[in-house]
């Protein structure tokens, strides 16, 4: 089947699906089972975003986070498995002290501390109670219990008395809230579902938090907490109202960025190194810009334009800085004053331009390369694992491939010629035939993401193949991925795993199929799909209580 006939076929399928859903719009969500109420450590970005949303932009964190672990393709799933080590706690404590210091200092207290103490140099329990209760509710994502609040008021009282400074007392009390396991871990609690005997769901505060972290990557705001407190959030109407509000907020961008940063594995940029001699343009600034280019492109297409998710693989629109322009050999001219950050410029490539689509971004081709040369294998592997949810086995340890990779080999002048040896050797071919033919289509992009037509004086052949479909170059690859049904089902699976913090259970399989159909019916628009997830029952349904609901 040719590319065009395949894509026609798929488009017909999508149109048919859309028509089907238009007539049966009220299709009910199938029953699902499984899923757990989890204890999840906040990710660095959730921590930072929470602090920013509660205390404002200017508060510095002043510490470093423990590494997350990637499970089932996502760091979000790993958050349900990690703890806090001694050195990690030390860092959380340092950050807590740094943040509390700033919040209660002379510059910020006027705006952030909403009451005035009777005296500056003595305890004032009423004011401390007001402040700590207010902030604690946002940090804990639920109202503090009376006992919790009493304890921290006493802490603040004692500290203020010892140090003869009311605000020092607040600082110490706030530090406690910031290192509390109630803040550092999202602790989900289950409760019996009144609508379905024998079933369980998240309680209202756990529900608010799942929703807020999914859509905003941050702690629930005051209004969402009020909806939880009043019980409104547990009604269908109340939930719909909050989902609509969160989706229409500009903060949705943070949520979308956080999801793609996780899914695309951008944490690996931290240890990315390129050969400075071969790629002098690939600096740390450029590493940051490469990620930003991709996230901007995604947010613009999927959130601002409400575009089709699959178009991220083909879109000719992107954003570039002058530095990225140099990397991609695209002129980007913009005036800016000296010593100011580079500006971002919207760019639209002409039809047929090989730089179209996310797979050609430096954030993909450079992240999945060796330091000194491109790698069709690493790129093909990444593409299968990230976008198709397939697992590519690691190479055997005891392999010598000196001949394959010798860039000075006079016979094998191009990467294609060198890796063809993989496909001839039966030991290697098993895995390499599922990675290399995909990655070879991206050979116009070197290890740093720079655009090239030739390698060692020989024209680069960018023909490739995916599951029997042959194509040429990055645009052909982008279109093939765009049209592959595995791409959208993988996306649905990843998004649901990300949202719930766990791999889907067999009992949720039917729901995932349903969600995929809804995704298609909504023309693969991300905000519509997020709405489907966020208003579904499956998203909040959990197995019997692993946490006893003795309190909320």
């Amino acid at each position: 089947m040719s590319v065009s006939s395949l894509s026609n076929h798929l488009i017909r399928g999508a149109v048919a699906a859309a028509a089907f859903w238009a007539v049966s719009a009220a299709a009910a969500e199938p029953d699902s089972s499984g899923g757990q109420a989890l204890v999840r450590r906040l990710t660095p970005s959730q921590y930072a975003q929470s602090i920013k949303d509660i205390f404002g932009e200017g508060i510095k964190l002043g510490g470093r986070f423990e590494p997350d672990i990637r499970t089932n393709g996502l760091l979000a799933v790993g958050t349900g498995k990690v703890s806090v080590t001694a050195a990690g706690f030390e860092q959380y404590y340092t950050m807590a002290r740094t943040i509390a210091e700033q919040v209660t200092d002379k510059d910020h207290r006027a705006t952030l501390v909403t009451c005035k103490p009777a005296a500056d140099k003595a305890p004032d329990d009423a004011c401390a109670r007001q402040f700590l209760g207010q902030v604690g509710r946002l940090l804990y994502r639920r109202p503090m219990t009376a006992a919790e609040l009493d304890t921290e008021v006493v802490v603040a009282h004692d500290a203020a008395a010892s140090l003869k400074d009311f605000h020092a007392g607040l600082r110490v009390g706030l530090t406690n809230l910031l290192v509390s396991p109630m803040f550092l871990f999202r602790q989900e609690t289950a409760e019996a579902d009144p609508a379905r005997a024998g079933s369980y769901r998240l309680n209202r505060f756990a529900k608010a938090a799942r929703l807020s972290f999914l859509l905003w990557d941050s702690t629930p705001d005051d209004e969402l907490l009020r909806a939880a407190e009043s019980g409104d959030l547990q009604s269908k109407k109340g939930l719909d109202r909050q989902v609509a509000r969160l989706l229409s907020s500009p903060r949705l961008e943070s949520g979308v960025r956080a999801f793609f940063t996780d899914m695309l594995g951008f944490d690996e940029f931290k240890t990315l190194s390129k050969d400075a001699v071969i790629y002098p343009k690939f600096t740390n600034v450029l590493i940051g810009q490469a990620q930003e280019q991709t996230l901007r492109t995604i947010v613009d297409l999927l959130v601002n334009e409400r575009g089709d998710y699959r178009d991220i693989f083909t879109t000719r629109k992107t954003f570039l800085t002058p530095s990225l322009g140099i990397l991609y050999a695209v002129p980007v001219v913009v005036d800016r004053p000296i010593n100011t950050p580079e500006l971002w410029v919207p760019v639209e490539y002409p039809a047929g331009d090989p730089r179209a689509g996310l797979l050609t971004h430096a954030s993909f081709v450079a992240l999945h390369s060796h330091p000194g040369r491109s790698s069709p294998t690493l790129r093909g592997k990444a593409l299968r694992e990230i976008f198709l949810c397939q697992k590519v086995p690691p190479p055997p340890g005891n392999v010598s491939f000196a001949d394959v990779q010798d860039t000075a080999n006079p016979v094998h002048r191009t990467v294609r010629a060198r890796v063809t040896a993989h496909l001839v050797n039966p030991v290697c071919a098993g895995c390499h035939k599922i990675t290399d033919p995909i990655g070879l289509a991206l050979e116009n992009f070197d290890s740093a993401g720079g655009y090239r037509m030739q390698e060692n004086g020989v024209d680069i052949d960018t023909s490739g193949e995916l599951s029997g479909i042959k194509f040429v170059g990055s645009t052909g690859l982008g279109q093939t991925i765009h049209d592959s049904p595995a791409v959208t089902s993988c996306f649905v699976n990843r998004m649901f795993s990300y949202a719930t913090g766990q791999a889907p259970t067999p009992g949720q399989a039917q729901f995932l199929t349903f969600a995929e159909e809804r995704f298609a019916a909504k023309k693969y628009r991300l905000p519509d799909f997020l709405k489907e997830i966020a208003t579904s029952e499956a998203f909040y349904q959990v197995d019997g209580p692993t946490r006893v609901a003795t309190r909320e």
């Binding site: 498995k81 806090v84 080590t85 001694a86 006493v154 871990f185 001699v277 340890g397 394959v404």
Partner: protein, 440 residues
């Protein structure tokens, strides 16, 4: 104001202390002084032992490192000649193996440090030993990585990794920054701010029992780990409120003037030297007794400034030089790494404590992940110990134990440092056979 705390609340006690400003929470090592030799405390107890691991990826090349003589009086193999000045304080172990699954980048270090690898890695030896010897210091342990990453091989359990510090400047601030108390300082006055913090933090740890009671088993273990970690910070604060034991060998190092961390081998070696000096000073000043150094990680990312390829790629791709009989660039990387280990030992040896040195009361356990890096094999994986652990380990020996599991070294070291354990490791790596030759 009326407050209610349960009867066992430590916070109540601490609040009382704070009010009275008297600091007498019973901690070991208080009010002791060194004897006149400087190698023991005044009460006659020897300075406590220190333990740490030093790891490099891709270390083995058969024939290049093994001493020819077995037992005492050996000479280092050519690749290890940088260690020759320390050979009387080193034991070399050859022939050891990581049993189990097909060779990969994890199994060697997992078996050496954790006793087994079946897809997950259990608790590692540094934390097991640290729980016995290192509980009285400000830092339970210090982990460092020399290639700019936070990668670490120190684990309290399968999902609990003690991340490495990538920056010598940051390590300096952690250990010798504002919160450091000079053990030899003339005056000691507890800081009221620290007293307040110590008391306040106990309000968080007092939540432990109530919170854990609401959790399922797995989550309970994770949150328990959080509270254990919190306790470490509490202990740091407690120690800041104590007059520290004077330690003659303690000198406060200067702050490193600059650092340049990254994967270029010269950067890694310089970073390692800075870390080595800071760790040596930290141990001499009683701040920690446990450390872990990761030099370049498993599938090493280290490279030279001149070449685009990393060490790992060379092991797979470099041809064996027919005249030399080995991969010359790989050998160069391995020599560089062993020189870095020699730098580390020199830093410990440079701290004189009475008649001996810091190295003498330490035990550094070196291992790598492969016996033959070129083929990533798990046979004949080089292992070393350096230092006598304060007279607990005999040194200067070459032990050849072909086919035995690497866990024999770990078991012996644990026993020597007081861990009550008779056998260690799992499945084919389980052993109860210590290396008796090195037990003093």
């Amino acid at each position: 104001m009326k407050t209610t705390f349960n009867a066992s609340s430590r916070r109540r006690v601490l609040r009382g202390i704070m009010g009275g400003a008297a600091v007498s929470v019973g901690l070991p090592l208080l009010d002791c002084f060194l004897n006149s030799n400087g190698d023991a405390l005044a009460n006659g107890a020897a300075l406590p032992p220190c333990f740490g691991t030093w790891f490099q990826g891709l270390g083995g090349a058969p024939g290049l490192w093994e001493p020819k003589v077995i037992g005492p009086g050996y000479e280092m193999g050519n690749q290890y000649r940088a260690l020759s000045p320390f050979k009387q304080k080193i034991n070399v172990f050859s022939g050891l193996k990581a049993h189990g699954r097909a060779p990969d980048h994890t199994i060697g270090q997992a078996v050496a440090f954790a006793g087994n690898y079946d897809g997950t890695i259990p608790q590692t030896i540094d934390t097991i030993i640290g729980d016995v010897i290192g509980t009285r210091t400000r830092f339970r342990s210090l982990e460092v990585a020399c290639d700019g990453s936070a990668e670490s091989y120190s684990r309290r359990g399968p999902n609990i990794t003690n991340a490495s510090e990538p920056s010598p400047l940051a390590l300096y601030s952690r250990v010798f920054g504002a919160e450091f108390t000079d053990p030899n300082g003339a005056e000691f006055k507890p800081d009221p701010e620290v007293m307040v913090r110590r008391s306040a933090l106990s309000a968080v740890s007092d939540q432990r029992a109530a919170l854990l009671a609401t959790l399922g088993t797995t989550d309970r273990a994770r949150l328990d780990e959080y509270f254990t970690s919190l306790r470490e910070t509490e202990k740091q604060l407690e120690l800041q409120l104590q007059k520290p034991t004077p330690l003659e060998a303690c000198a406060i190092p200067g702050k490193p003037e600059a650092e340049s961390t990254g994967v270029i081998i010269d950067q890694a070696r310089e970073t390692q030297r800075l870390f080595a000096s800071l760790i040596a000073h930290a141990m001499a000043c009683g701040q920690t007794q446990v450390f872990n150094v990761n030099f370049g990680g498993g599938a090493s990312r280290l490279r030279t400034a001149e070449s685009a390829e990393v060490f790992h790629i060379y092991t797979h791709e470099e041809a064996t030089d027919p005249k030399l009989g080995y991969q010359p660039t790989v050998n160069w990387f391995q020599e560089q790494t062993i020189s870095a280990l020699a730098d580390f030992l020199a830093a410990l040896e440079g701290v004189r404590e009475g008649a001996g040195t810091l190295l003498d009361r330490s035990l550094v356990m070196y291992c790598t992940d492969h016996g033959y890096a070129r083929y990533h094999t798990s046979d004949n994986i080089p292992m070393l110990t350096a230092g006598g652990a304060g007279g607990r380990i005999r040194t200067g020996l070459h032990i050849h134990a072909p086919g035995d599991s690497m866990t024999r070294v770990g078991l012996t070291v644990q026993q020597a440092l007081g861990v009550p354990v008779n056998s260690w490791g799992k499945d084919a790596n389980e052993t109860s056979k210590t290396i008796s030759e090195i037990i003093a």
